[in-house]
């Protein structure tokens, strides 16, 4: 069904809520190690697509395969996270009353049973991994700070750091630069490019400047299906995309 070079495979996926077709016959293929930007006007189905991939929403029809053999429609959120898909929410969601370091520690890959948390002692390996991730997201200085004291942009990075700690094969990143300053956006571009060296990534974003900076293949969604796909220049010159963005 899928070749080994494909990390994510969606085919003919549809889902409706109360008669409204949020996703309509959507097909999308992501290669292993690829970073893809997803754009589209409000209500195009970007977040619903992420909900389907992460098991929050079950599609009415269609197939969703991850990493070759896993049929994602048969798993729930926690299972899918353990299979190796990490998700960053649109609104930065971190554990506000924990320190930055603890946020990462709670996300580290490892057993997820209650018993394992009762007996847990942080190993030297874990500590090294935490240091590594804090260095990647540039929050080493603030490791003992409570997450609620971070700026909006730093929370976004912390959440990306939490995904990295999970060591996923695929990262879904929903609007990472929403509400960020220009400098923070620059930093996020650097961070995501760095992450994409070792992971497959899907980034959903409105900010065209940011998408251009990423310099990756772009998929434009509209009314729940793919409208156009290719380089940003190709997509932004597609008359149907112009129609959707400007025509109304």
């Amino acid at each position: 069904m899928t070749n080994t070079n494909t990390i994510l495979y969606l085919d003919g996926v549809s889902v409706s809520f109360d008669g409204f077709r949020a996703i309509n016959n959507l097909s999308l293929v992501l290669d292993r190690g690829e970073m893809r930007a997803i754009i589209g006007p409000n209500g195009a189905g970007k977040t619903t697509m992420m909900d389907i991939i992460t098991g929050k929403t079950r599609p009415d029809t269609g197939t969703v395969y991850f990493d070759g053999t896993h049929d994602l429609t048969r798993y729930d959120e926690a299972d899918i996270a353990m299979l190796g898909i990490g998700r960053k929410f649109q609104k930065p969601t971190v554990f506000e009353s924990h320190t930055v370091e603890d946020n990462i520690a709670l996300s580290l890959k490892g057993p997820r049973t209650v018993l394992s948390t009762l007996l847990n002692r942080r190993s030297a390996d874990d500590a090294r991994r935490i240091d590594e991730i804090l260095a990647t997201i540039r929050l080493e200085e603030r490791r003992d700070e409570l997450a609620c004291n971070l700026s909006h942009g730093q929370k976004q990075w912390l959440e990306i750091g939490m995904l990295l700690a999970q060591d996923p094969k695929l990262l879904l990143v929903d609007e990472p630069v929403a509400g960020m300053t220009d400098a923070e956006t620059e930093e996020t571009v650097r961070l995501l490019k760095d992450v994409a060296k070792r992971h497959s990534v899907i980034v959903v974003e409105h900010d065209m400047h940011f998408v251009r900076e990423l310099g990756v293949k772009v998929t434009c969604l509209h009314e729940g299906s793919v409208l156009s796909e290719g380089s940003l220049d190709h997509v932004s010159q597609d008359p149907r995309v112009i129609e959707v963005y400007l025509g109304r």
């Binding site: 992460t54 969601t93 971190v94 924990h98 209650v114 409570l146 939490m162």
Partner: protein, 399 residues
């Protein structure tokens, strides 16, 4: 030094509370039994029983705090677990009466003779043994909480909906235990207890011993809670409280984390109930009343949820107030309680302990800000501030 005990779970304040509880366990019986009644240091027997009751309430509030303050599960039915533990102990105490009942029946408790029952129902078997009753004190509330939680958390029932069904649970049990044919004494419940493990319940020595045991059990409950909440599991409880979906998308199963906390909490509440019954001498269905469960929430909120000291202080303070009020102006007590809850919600949303912590943290921040202009803080001091801020976790409202 102290912070290394039990993996950092016991900070100085908790050690202080433990010291107070253990010394009370020794001092109160001494002041009651060994000091003559003429002395102003003498503690009368009724006061010993009253203090023992407060400690049971404190343990109950602590058990609620574990699920509400740390895990965000606002249970409005925690009184049910307390009452079930109490009933298990009451059944043992009923069997201890033996032939000394009004009807003098060797096996059947008085109310069963009165109802013309011929033999003991099967679920009363074993309650003549203390060890069996003690096991049931923990097992019955624990199993109920496990079954209830398993269904509710797996179905992702949260927030007010969960609170409402916990309330419905205790109300259903209230109605069930009111029925005579349930075999738990109906409306009157279980009372007229004579002795426990062969010691007369009327004897001041037994009452003093029960007080000491309550104080020590509360101390153990404090240690268990402190160790739990400072472990990685405790951090996850707080993570689930603050951002449940985040934990789920990280691969955790919030339902299991909640289920464990809920079950441990119910067992703790059951033990509190079992200690309460011999000290007050009665257990009846009114312990299942929804209003009782709401009172537990008020104690915890007043003291400060999401802290270990808070529920203990809250339960003792509010019940001391209740004892005073219901003696002086009984008709106003419910208004005072309602007013207190509103006042705490509006003025002290973090409760007594939470507000105190916030005030101290603010003062420390001001002081170090003032110092920062003149000299650089040594790194050691920085480390300690970081650690203390980590401990003063701000409780968040249950979703």
């Amino acid at each position: 030094m102290s912070s290394s005990l039990f993996g950092g779970g016991l900070d100085r304040r908790i050690l202080g509370l433990l010291a107070i509880l253990t010394s009370a366990a020794v001092l109160v019986p001494v002041l009651n039994l060994a000091v003559p009644p003429t002395s102003s240091f003498h503690i009368p027997t009724y006061a010993v029983a009253l203090l023992g009751k407060y400690l049971c309430y404190a343990m109950l509030a602590l058990s609620l705090d574990l699920v509400w303050g740390y895990c965000g599960i606002l249970s409005l039915g925690h009184g049910a677990f307390f009452a079930l533990g109490g009933y298990a102990m009451g059944m043992y105490l009923m069997r201890q009466i033996g032939t000394r009942g009004v009807y003098g029946h060797p096996v059947l408790p008085d109310f069963m003779v009165f109802l013309n029952w011929k033999e003991l129902p099967w679920y009363w078997y074993g309650f003549d043994q203390f060890w069996f009753a003690a096991l049931m004190v923990m097992l019955v509330p624990g199993l109920l909480a496990f079954a209830f939680g398993w269904l509710a958390f797996r179905s992702r029932v949260t927030g007010v909906y969960l609170s409402i069904i916990t309330q419905a649970m205790t109300y259903a049990l209230l109605l069930a235990f009111f029925r005579n044919d349930m075999g738990f004494g109906g409306n009157n419940g279980l009372t007229d207890f004579k002795d426990i493990l062969g010691f007369s319940l009327q004897a001041p020595t037994t009452r003093a011993a029960l007080f000491s045991i309550s104080a020590l059990m509360l101390a153990i409950a404090v240690i268990v809670t402190a160790v739990l909440v400072s472990s990685k599991y405790g951090k996850l409880m707080i993570a689930v409280r603050d951002a449940e979906s985040r934990t789920r998308f990280l691969g955790w199963r919030p339902e299991n984390i909640k289920l464990f906390a809920f079950t441990v909490s119910a067992v703790m509440a059951g033990i509190a109930g079992a200690l309460y019954v011999p000290q007050v001498g009665i257990i009846n269905p009114s312990e299942f009343a929804p209003a009782n469960s709401i009172e537990i929430v008020i104690w915890t909120a007043v003291g400060g949820r999401g802290t270990i000291l808070g529920p203990v202080i809250g339960a003792v303070a509010v019940n001391w107030g209740k004892s005073w009020f219901t003696a002086a102006i009984p008709e106003l007590w419910l208004f005072a309680l309602g007013g207190l809850f509103i006042a705490v919600t509006l003025l002290l949303p973090k409760g007594i302990v939470g507000t105190w912590d916030a005030w101290r943290a603010a003062r420390r921040a001001r002081r170090s800000a003032g110092k920062g202009t003149s000299q650089v803080e040594p790194p050691v001091a920085e480390g300690t501030t970081a650690r203390t801020t980590r401990h003063s976790i701000e409780p968040q409202p249950a979703e």
